[in-house]
Amino acid sequence: MLFSSTIFIFYFLPITLVIYYAIPERYLRARNGVLLAASLIFYSWGEPVYVFLMIYSAFLNYFSALQVRREQHEGGTGKKNLLFAVVMNLFILGFFKYYGFLMDTINDITGANIKYTALALPIGISFYTFQAMSYVIDVYRGTVGPQKNFFRFALYLSLFPQLIAGPIVRYRDVAEELEDRTHSLEDFGAGSMRFVFGLGKKIILANNLGALYSSITALPDGQVSVLTYWIGILAYTFQIYFDFSGYSDMAIGLGRMMGFHFMENFNYPYISKSITEFWRRWHMSLSSWFREYVYIPLGGNRVTVPRHILNLLIVWSLTGLWHGANWNFIMWGTYFGVLLILEKYVYGSRIEKLPAWGQHLYTMVIVIISWVFFSITDIGQALEYLKTMFFMGGHPVANIKTLYFLRTSLVLLGASALCSTPVVLEKFKKLADRYPRWSIAVMAGVFVLSVAYLVFGSYNPFLYFRF
């Protein structure tokens, strides 16, 4: 089930909220029970079989954390049990996500043509597996105590607002709220507004941008031009941001409606002045996960320069691989790894001396190029797309199609550029402070428009669903 679907907005969410709030606040256990049941129903909607995998994963990690603590209590290090949990989690993730990729690679290299069955990827497996691993590692490190109540832990792992596309919520960040949280009208209101904002980003902006990008990539060779391809990838650049950050907004908003405060996942990444800054603002929960559980244990930057470079390359190729089981994602991750190394050791200081617009331009060109590798899984086709963008594909600079796309999408692209800066939200907040009724009218407008698009529009993809 998607947040941006009529079933969720008009049936699932209202029913869940009514039942949840019908229970008096002092019976938090019962409220948690409602949330757990709702989360499992939400997950089984699309994955009736894989809900068992999710429950299994919850038990595996719940049990492993208790064993880690028991081992430590008895004078051991807890490493054996930690290793068991990590190996099992990675095995599950590897089997579902990377088995097909591995077989394809073996077939390509050896030409063996081994037949295998491609399995459907359980929704959200990358997110909940990473959450589960962070929990066991944190218990091992002593950062957090193990959760003794299985149902409470299962709720943490399956909590429907963040289940499918994050943010990757660490257990220690919500441990207290699982046991004791307050509900207020203010939180509910702020959460609802955040949800509507996210819905608008996803439905009004991302879906239309996606349709534009799809139309451009489907153009026959004879109608392609340099500028058209730039418009296409620019549309994708905004689409992926509004799609994913919109979903994160909805997740954070839904959490807040039920008393949870999840970490922020995006902080206007497209206003960054360097790639380093971009990654401090993009998918922050994933970046901090890799920093804390891979980069720092590898030695971080407190090592020799060659080792630091190796650490960065390892972390960034893994980040790429996390996004998808394909070479283009590994290439995408490594591309950023190399650029971060260059910024750190080669030209970072020179970039800082550029005027602000130059720094923005540098960052955006690199980011836009990266989305070519991200959006086109076939590396050959991605390179063809890039060649055309940089006048090497033998296509004209512009043609009649370019004019058509420019005329029909200029407003959309302009609005997207504006909405990817803090300006719009700041203006809205000022408006809300001065004229609260107007702000409610704006939100209602966004909601109605989004629902209209949902009901009458037919194009509603979700890019991060598969991760």
Binding site: P48, V49, F52, L53, Y56, F59, L60, F63, Q67, R70, E74, N81, F84, M88, F91, I92, F95, T117, A118, L119, A120, L121, A211, S214, S215, T217, A218, P220, D221, I376, T377, D378, Q381, S458, Y459, N460, P461, F465, R466
Partner: protein
Amino acid sequence: MNIKKNMKRNTNTETNTDNTKGNSRTIEMTTAEKGALVIKVVLVAVLLLFLFFVYRGNSAKDVPVKDIETALVKQTNIEKIMEPCGDRDLLQFMGLDYRDYDSYVYYKTSEALGVDELLIVKVKNKSDLTGVEDAVDKRVSSQITKFDSYGPSQVRELNNAIIEKKGKYLFYCTAKSPEKYEEVFRDAI
């Protein structure tokens, strides 16, 4: 001297006590560890069994082909590139008789020089998949032969075609980016 002796005696006693505690702890730990080991073995066995059944059953849900088509229309721009085709087209272009199969969805470009097409067939028995796969292979080969001498971009698309079997379904797509349709198909079942 006496004080020293007493201290030594006390130390011994402490050590003995520690050893005794240590032994009993060792016995307790072994029991707890044994219990944990049994649970771990059960966990591994349950996982392997689950994976075996998922893999054997191919995890494909029994989804009506119509639902897959709805997902394709909703999540891709298929309607802009191709047009839905009927029973006669299926027979004419793919050589498949719709009556032999549970259901199907077939989209094809209307452009005279286009090769874009998408076919999803749900068979009645898994053994029927081989016949459908042969028909699709034949179609791709004949299209390549047809465009070989004058349509390099069409041939590139055809060489890049995706044919995939999953459960009782066969998915075939020739398009500029067939992966995006394949992804929707995979997500749908």
